[in-house]
Amino acid sequence: MEPNSSDQSKHKHSKHSGVLAMVWDHPAKINLSMREQDEHIELLLRRHWITMLPLLVILLAGLLLPFIISLLGVDLFVLTGLGSSSVHFQVVVLVVWYMLVLGFGFVCFLNWFFNVYIVTDKHLIDVDYWGLFFHRISDCRLEQVQDTSHDVQGMWEILFNYGDVFVQTASELSNIDFISVSEPEFVHQRISDLVSQALEHDSGRHHN
């Protein structure tokens, strides 16, 4: 049975939109290289931003550190033995410091931005990207999904409504786990609905 437009609009949350959304419902202007011709993206999920909070604190501390040190009246260049170096060199060191901190922030942002879980009407796709040298893309067809579950455990998860959604599959890749996604209950329900629709479509095709 094909989903009708009222079903889709019922599922579609108006707040789940935007390129930086943690849960993007029916994302527009997304170009997924491994998408089939008639395949539609239903959900694009990212980790909840609160999981990036420790890195944000480090980033902020890095940005503020030179100001705090100067406010304390400590000359860092004298302290580290670089007091005798030229002013130009000291300026370069300071600019390099900010470049490193902002570079760290950029890498953290890319880690968050490209670590996505994509639910289409045919596939579940997990794009993993960590650090500089690692990325992995795994996918499975919705018909291969055997079981889905979600858990929300911990104070922060309950406060900010995020958790893990586990998908057991019959493919060679045993599981696709959606870690720390926002609104796990909604995501779980949506995947279950799409799997049911895919199975019905699949069985209908076999009967014909």
Binding site: V19, L20, K29, I30, N31, L32, S33, M34, T80, G81, L82, G83, S84, S85, S86, H88, F89, V92, V93, V95, V96, M99, L100, G103, F106, V107, L110, F113, F114, V116, I118, V127, Y129, L132, F133, H135, I137
Partner: protein, 79 residues
């Protein structure tokens, strides 16, 4: 005899200022390589998953690489 060979390093007369410039240049050279790898990685990921932010991310990654290279040249000049 072996201790005589180690006398070139004298902690009492060690000055960080003397080695800071070459260390910074080596560090920045490595950082340039890393930032270029980051740019390449970002390009690969944008090909896999294109979003409206993709052009901005690509430009930022390229700017990051160019700026690190500029800093390498600047450190070389002032050292």
């Amino acid at each position: 005899m072996f201790s005589d060979q180690l006398t070139f390093f004298d902690p009492a007369n060690f000055s960080l200022a003397a080695v800071a410039a070459p260390l910074l240049i080596i560090f920045l050279a490595l950082y340039c390589v890393f930032s270029f790898v980051l740019y390449r990685q970002a390009k690969i990921l944008i090909n896999i998953l294109g979003t409206p932010l993709s052009p901005l991310i690509k430009r930022l990654a390229l700017f990051h690489f160019c700026f690190s290279f500029l800093m390498l040249v600047a450190a070389w000049l002032v050292a």
